[in-house]
């Protein structure tokens, strides 16, 4: 934990250790003339037990930031640390192990396996880790997202909001240290979105998990602890204890 403290980015205001850290991360797509800098020397830390929203116009590098931080994509230069471990050059097996134990994912397009029931989808990460999850645990997690009576349904038989809640349950079941969420409310109606945000809050407050969430929606961003604004691959602004109005104002300013 000490090494982590010494490497923490200088501009990180929090004193709690960071669950995810990016040091001078650059990600370039394409080569030579067609090269695009999706991330340009980004230094950022996501404090443990907090919820950070990442905002910015389309093409600002939000999703690339999320993918690089989660080890889904290699960085061109710079270092990435997740839960105290440097994953910049981690092997596929190592990243797989992390995905099973430390990382969780929730996406706009739910990404459930269509052929499996809600229950089976939730149990999948544990099964892949070689465990035989007790049905009780799975049921409890499903109950905690309000889907106790939908365990035997397949994704196709669930509404969008319910599918997203299954996805969240799947991300919760391994109790990951860090949850990466890409537009988790993007495809949901207002009411479902509010339910999902409340659950994410519960993960942060209840079990001290860290959430990194990319979003377009000021209302979703306002549910986080702080907001980071990205523009042209750089961090251009940040906002602690956001409200919908404050986020909307900043966005309006940066998107002018």
């Amino acid at each position: 934990m000490e090494t982590q403290a010494t490497h923490r980015p200088l501009d990180a205001p929090e004193t709690t250790p960071s669950a995810v850290e990016l040091h001078g991360v650059t990600r370039v797509y394409g080569t030579r003339t067609a090269a695009v800098r999706a991330l340009d020397n980004v230094d950022i830390g996501f404090p443990a037990g907090s919820w950070t929203a990442v905002m910015g116009p389309s093409g600002s590098g939000k999703s690339t930031l999320l993918h690089c931080a989660a080890g889904l994509e290699r960085v061109t230069s710079g270092r990435v640390r997740v839960a105290g471990q440097d994953i910049t050059d981690a092997s596929d097996a190592e990243l797989t192990r992390l995905r099973r134990t430390v990382l969780g994912f929730v996406f706009q397009s739910f990404n459930l396996i269509g052929s499996l029931t809600a229950e089976q989808n939730v149990a999948m990460p544990l099964r892949l880790a070689g465990q035989r999850p007790p049905r009780k645990v799975v049921r409890e997690v499903l109950a905690s997202v309000g889907l106790a009576d939908r365990a035997r349904h397949r994704p196709g038989e669930l509404s969008g909001g319910q599918q997203q809640r299954v996805a969240i349950a799947r991300a919760m079941v391994t109790r990951p240290a860090v949850l990466f969420a890409d537009e988790p409310t993007g495809a949901l109606d207002t009411k479902s979105a509010r339910t999902v945000l409340r659950m994410l809050r519960g993960m942060v407050e209840g079990s001290g998990q860290t959430i990194v969430m990319v979003t377009h929606d000021p209302a979703a961003a306002a549910a986080a602890d702080r907001v980071v604004f990205l523009g042209d691959g750089r961090v251009v602004d940040r906002l602690d204890r956001p409200t919908v109005r404050l986020v909307a104002d900043r966005l309006a300013r940066w998107e002018e």
């Binding site: 993918h67 097996a93 995905r99 269509g114 052929s115 499996l116 990460p125 892949l128 994704p155």
Partner: protein
């Protein structure tokens, strides 16, 4: 993991039913060919028959065995080809699912285990159905062989219980092997691909495809060169082998060829739909290549084999016309040599009689192995007078007593002075080789001394000053034809036999490839509901979507036909060179009618399958599919 396999199976049933079907029919085909072959090989000739009849039945079985051997080889090749390409395709269809699993924490090994588990499941199911389906297929095959006269009447394939193991081994083994290579590739799928729509950036043309393509192409060239040197009876199996390897080579590099061929179609397909079809053709390279594969196999084999046998027949016809210096052919059921010679106007006559005997080959440790064969017993003086024949060694005039003249087209590497071990009813057990005949396509491969003729049917080849008058004179002795008629009859006979052989060889495999085409179309469409829906939301009518898919399918057929024709051309060129080397006649016969028929069938089958599947995939209102992704 197996439960996971089962769930996926339930969900993606079109893909998997297609895969099971391909295994099932492949197993049925291989099992039926193998059982028929084994039954023919172990068939016993009923005791108590006269020697001639017994020999005829034995000869019939020997012919059937070599034909069935080739059928089995072909069945195995087509089954392996279709099953492995189907399985590789089903894996490629599911990239996104697999990426999603990786995202949820699946390791590479787990992805492979999943896919191999699936292949195991499909292989077991397919083999089980295949063993059952193999029984009617075997009856069908037996009936077909019987109707062509390739097996003695009353022959049927017999069930053997050990075939269960073979069939299961073939079905499961091929399915798993087909998936192994694909699963290695699939295990490399990156989790991030789950978040993107198509893994369009994935390279279809992998290094292993290059390697396989190059090796098989080189092998084909080597074999085609070899066809020219071995010639004779080995030429046909070898050129079939060359079409196997050529087809494999083309299948490996198909992803490279598809976009190349797509270019002219871009020029051809104008208008909005054309642009769409052309674009789909180019982006769905793997899909196009998979659908084109069975078409390629079908065209390559049918055109290649029909061309090969057609070329042989035509070469034989030209060889006989070139070498025969006679005007009339008389066939009789008894020796009438002196009467023929006595007919006024007869300038030269050659008495010829077919003799069946067993030819011994020294097989080293196994000692002498006898195989049935045929020779033509001739009187050397008369034969030399009516045939343009230059022996390459020895002297045909020495052909008397226990002697023989052989062509190098009959294997054995005989030299003048060698003693040839034989089993001849009531004859000597050794024949002295007195002359070597030139290479021949039409035969005879073996000339026997006139002293080995027995009573029975005879053929008299006659040169006459006034053929018409002599023909009337000969008519009372037997059936008279002009040599031109006789050669035509010979060629027709050969051609009919070639077609029969081809149907016997390819019939089942052809049906199998047709089903594989439908299979590929259905599997390809199973993945495209969302794509079709998007096209409709963009403003295309249902008819236009169907039209674009149809245009795409037709282009794929064209690609398959083109590649198949290319492979067949390679075989045909090899054959033509072989024939020219052997007998100095340049000839190549292209089976236009048969080729066109096969193309027409492929077009109809693929077009129908494409229209029906697209109609079914666009049945749901488009907006529902666009909105709901999972």
């Amino acid at each position: 993991m197996l439960r996971m396999s089962w769930s996926t199976f339930r969900d993606r049933w079109q893909v998997f039913v297609g895969a099971i079907l391909s295994v099932c029919l492949g197993v049925a085909l291989v099992q039926s060919s193998l059982l028929t072959l084994v039954s023919a090989a172990t068939a016993s000739v009923p005791p108590g028959l006269p020697p001639e009849q017994e020999r005829a039945i034995r000869d019939g079985y020997v012919g059937a065995i070599s034909l069935l051997g080739m059928t089995l080889g072909l069945a195995v090749f087509v089954a392996v080809f279709v099953v492995s390409s189907t399985f590789a395709f089903t894996v490629a269809q599911r990239r996104r699912d697999l990426a999603l699993l990786r995202l949820t924490g699946a390791g590479r090994r787990q992805v492979r285990t999943l896919l191999v588990g699936e292949a195991l499941l499909l292989g077991v199911l397919g083999s089980a159905f295949g063993v059952l389906a193999g029984l009617p297929v075997m009856r069908l095959q037996g009936a077909m062989l019987d109707s062509f006269g390739f097996v003695p009447p009353g022959f049927t394939g017999q069930w053997r219980s050990w075939i269960l193991g073979v069939s299961a081994g073939v079905g499961i083994g091929v399915a798993v092997l087909g998936v192994l290579a694909a699963s290695r590739r699939a295990a490399k799928v990156r989790p991030l691909e789950a978040l993107r729509d198509v893994g369009a950036a994935t390279r279809v043309m992998t290094a292993s495809r290059w390697v396989v393509g190059a090796i098989f192409f080189a092998g084909s060239i080597a074999m085609l060169v070899l066809v020219a040197t071995v010639g004779g009876e080995a030429a046909l199996p070898l050129s079939i082998c060359a079409s196997f390897t050529l087809v494999t080579a083309f299948a490996a590099v198909a992803p490279l060829i598809v976009p190349l061929v797509a270019v002219p179609f871009g020029l051809l397909f104008r208008g909005r739909l054309g642009v769409l079809a052309h674009a789909n053709l180019r982006t769905g390279v793997r899909r196009s290549a998979s659908t084109a594969a069975p078409i390629m196999v079908l065209v390559a084999f049918v055109v290649g084999m029909a061309g090969t046998t057609g070329t042989m027949t035509e070469a034989g016809r030209q060889e006989i016309s070139r070498d025969l210096r006679a005007d009339l052919v008389l066939t009789t059921d008894r020796p009438v040599r002196d009467q023929v010679a006595a007919v006024p106007g007869v300038e030269a006559v050659s008495e010829e009689a077919q003799v069946s005997f067993d030819l011994g080959q020294d097989e080293g440790e196994d000692g002498l192995v006898f195989e049935p064969t045929n020779g033509l017993a001739v009187d050397p003086a008369g034969y030399a007078a009516t045939h343009r024949m230059v022996v390459t060694a020895g002297d045909l005039a020495d052909l008397h007593g226990a002697s023989v003249a052989v062509s190098p087209s009959e294997s054995g590497g005989w030299r003048v002075g060698d003693m040839m071990p034989v089993r001849l009813d009531g004859g000597p057990d050794q024949l002295r080789v007195v002359a070597l005949l030139p290479e021949t396509v039409a035969g005879p491969y073996i000339l026997l001394s006139p002293d080995l003729m027995r009573d029975g049917p005879r053929r008299y080849v006659v040169r006459a000053a006034d053929p018409a008058a002599v023909a009337t004179g000969l008519a009372r002795l037997g059936q008279v034809t002009t040599t031109a008629q006789w050669i035509d009859a010979y060629a027709d006979d050969q051609q009919k036999m070639s077609v029969d052989i081809m149907v016997a060889l390819l019939g089942m495999a052809m049906v199998y490839t047709l089903i594989a085409m439908v299979n590929a179309v259905v599997i390809a469409a199973s993945d495209r509901r969302a794509e079709f829906a998007a096209a409709r939301v963009t403003g295309l009518t249902r008819g236009q979507v169907v039209g674009a898919a149809l245009a795409e399918s037709l282009a794929v057929v064209a690609i398959g036909v083109l590649l198949g024709v290319l492979a067949a051309t390679g075989t045909l060129i090899g054959m033509a060179f072989a024939v020219r080397d052997m007998i100095g006649i340049s000839v190549a016969s292209v089976p236009w009618a048969l080729g066109s028929a096969v193309v027409a069938i492929a077009v109809v089958v693929v077009a129908t399958a494409s229209v029906l599947t697209t109609l079914s995939a666009t049945r749901t209102p488009a907006i529902r599919l666009v909105a709901a992704r999972d």
